[in-house]
């Protein structure tokens, strides 16, 4: 690194800034600045009509200045922690199901003849061609009580003397749509990782007497861990913030953090508390990412 640094000419350095600058600026403007605004907003009072109460007001009777009350409110009732825990379990379940479904598929694509791979990847991406909300609404029809699926399930349950179940407006409906929507985000990173594996490693393992399972578990799987981690992050984090799917397909109990935060900004017009919830969510996600990185790091050593 240091050696090559000396060799950098002015032009090369300029090129580096020109290439790295815009994305950096983009991140700064659209991630760092809003985050700072959010942190500042969380210490303010809510405005009567939405927005924030003024920092200083001429009238001493109006609420003004900074406060810790949103944080006190957050910790004053366990209910918010419960929403977090519930959302984490939903995100975890979605991630695991996506992983279990995506891994064989990604492996299949990676092991296919080269000329078929692009077509297969295209088919994974194809659902993106239609709008996300339309695809979620389609699930309302698929899971509705008069759908073929519902009737099959309920006829089957009836055979064993069980009462009919409602598929739509349930946590099950939310989970199924979460998995459906996020599956490509797991398949693609896994595929791009698996595709790069050197087949000679598996040949070597076979020569050394490893059976099929051992070749997978001791060679392919450890090498695919980076793909698993990036795929999991791409699924876990968006699911954690998702509000549209529980809104549309969820039943009477399906509130996730995304819904709660959205409600603070729209229905309750309480921007400071909404900001506090978002910050708590960011902290929780960073904590999980840090934990995952630590765990992942250990695994890496053993591999």
């Amino acid at each position: 690194m240091t050696d090559s640094g000396h060799k950098h000419t002015r032009a090369a350095r300029l090129a580096k800034y020109l290439m790295g600058g815009p994305p950096l600026l983009f991140l700064l403007l659209l991630f760092a600045v809003p985050s700072v605004i959010m942190v500042l907003a969380s210490f303010r009072y809510p405005g009567e009509f939405g927005g924030l109460a003024p920092l200083t007001a001429a009238d001493p009777n109006t609420l003004q200045g900074v406060t810790l009350e949103t944080y006190q409110f957050f910790f004053s009732d366990l209910i918010y922690i419960k929403v977090f825990i519930k959302s984490f379990f939903m995100a975890l379940a979605t991630t695991l199901i996506c992983l279990i479904m995506a891994y064989p598929l990604a492996l299949l694509i990676a092991l296919s003849p080269k000329k078929n791979r692009n077509l297969m990847v295209l088919m994974v991406i194809l659902p993106f061609a239609s709008n996300f909300l339309i695809r979620v609404y389609a699930w309302m029809i698929i899971l509705g009580p008069q759908s073929v699926l519902s009737q099959l399930v309920n006829n089957f349950l009836h055979l064993f003397g069980n009462a009919p179940v409602h598929l739509l407006f349930s946590p099950f409906a939310v989970l199924i749509a979460m998995v459906y929507v996020h599956l490509p985000f797991m398949v693609l990173p896994l595929y791009s990782n698996l595709e790069k594996h050197d087949p000679s490693l598996l040949d070597a393992a076979q020569d050394l007497g490893a059976n099929g399972w051992q070749r997978f578990w001791r060679v392919t799987f450890p090498l695919s861990l980076p793909g698993i981690f990036s795929g999991s992050a791409l699924v876990f984090i968006p699911v954690l913030g998702m509000f549209a799917i529980p809104d549309i397909l969820g039943g009477t109990g399906d509130m996730l953090i995304g819904n709660l935060i959205k409600e603070q900004f729209i229905g309750t017009r309480d921007w400071p508390f909404g900001s506090t919830l978002s910050i708590m969510l960011t902290i929780a996600v960073l904590l999980i990412a840090w934990l995952a990185a630590k765990l992942g790091g250990h695994r890496g050593h053993y591999a």
Binding site: F49, G51, I79, I248, T252, G253
Partner: protein, 353 residues
């Protein structure tokens, strides 16, 4: 060359003149018939451009975030109150509204805008019980009380076939009414009673739903809803169109219900106050006002409109309640920020239970 420049200027000028005659209307979805708009455009030689919202909170949030330049908005009473207190509205010039006398005085001078300085009633909806008439008859249930929404003895027969509005205020209001309180009661103890009532009934409900219940009623998946009168009307129209063997009807519970009176107001930042007044006066004409009611089954505060409204709507007590029922209807008032935060927490508790 000079002619071209001149021509360009003339074209620009014409375009600017056109741009001057655009009325910006921020309205509910499907809340004005296309032919009414077309007639107004013909009469004023202007264009009406609409933006839409699907609830008051969304509209208020958008305005709070700085949206400006709307000439007219059609908010519900409590949102009008909030906008007045923010100083976001322009006072009306009643001299420009000769048709104002068409409005039934019962709908004037509401608490949210005493003596109608800022607002002119447009239409109203009631929050009531809507149901599949044949199914409810089959199950031998009565729908004259909120009890059917909240009491497990009735709900047992309807498990998974009921939806309630996904709205903190509306659901709380129904529960408060059933408990014998005002919809505007802000006593936290009463709110907690309402919460417990809702939590007890919740296992029997299919969903909190504010939009797709219309379709679910039409299809026959859902048999009973806590919903808006014009949505229920829409569900019935759709069911008839699809030749269903049932009708969707509604009833006003005897404990009373929420009435939402939507009014036309002028946003202060709008740039066409004269045109806006002309539009309001145009909509106050009975014939124009009746078109909306005929299209979506909304309640109509315009006395002159009644003669143009289809009799099956004008004689429907759930659209045009009689005096005895009117007394038991209440409009929601705006909550302050503290109350909103407490209600949001109660709502979270309800959802998570």
């Amino acid at each position: 060359m000079i002619w071209r420049v001149l021509l360009l200027f003339i074209l620009l000028f014409i375009d600017a003149a056109h741009a001057d005659d655009v009325l910006h209307l921020y309205n509910w979805n499907n809340y004005i018939p296309a032919q009414t708009i077309a007639r107004f455009e013909a009469s004023c030689a202007c264009r009406v451009v609409q933006d839409y919202y699907s609830d008051n909170e969304e509209m208020l949030a958008k305005l709070a975030a700085g949206a400006s330049g709307y000439d007219l908005i059609v908010p519900t009473g409590n949102a009008v109150e909030s906008l007045i207190r923010q100083g976001a509205l322009r006072p009306l010039d009643k001299n420009l509204l000769p048709n104002l006398h068409n409005i039934d005085p019962a709908y004037l001078n509401a608490a949210f805008d005493p003596s109608n300085r800022y607002s002119v009633p447009y239409a109203y909806t009631l929050t009531l019980i809507g149901y599949n008439r044949e199914k409810i008859r089959e199950l031998d249930l009565t729908t004259d009380s909120w009890a059917i929404i909240f009491e497990p003895i009735y709900l047992k027969k309807l498990k998974g076939r009921v939806t309630v509005l996904d709205s903190q205020r509306e659901l709380l209001a129904a529960a408060l009414k059933y408990l014998g309180y005002s919809v505007n009661d802000v006593d936290e103890v009463h709110w907690k009673q309402a919460r417990d009532l809702i939590i007890r009934a919740k296992p029997y409900w299919a969903a909190f739903n504010a939009s797709s219940y219309i379709k679910e009623l039409t299809v026959g998946n859902i048999w009973l809803v806590h919903g808006y009168s014009n949505d229920i009307f829409q569900a019935d129209l759709d069911a008839q169109k699809a030749n269903r063997k049932f009708r969707i009807v509604s009833s006003i519970p005897k404990e009373g219900a929420v009435m939402a009176l939507d009014s036309m107001v002028l946003q202060k930042t709008g740039s066409h106050p004269d045109l806006s007044h002309r539009f309001i006066n145009f909509m106050l004409d009975g014939r124009n006002s009746a078109e909306l009611t005929n299209l979506i089954g909304s309640g109509n505060p315009n006395r002159d409109a009644l003669q143009y409204i289809r009799p099956e709507i004008s004689q429907n007590p759930a659209v045009f309640p009689n005096r005895a029922q009117q007394v038991r209807l209440e409009m929601l008032h705006d909550l302050n920020r503290h109350q909103r935060r407490i209600l949001s927490r109660i709502w979270t508790q309800i959802k998570l239970k």
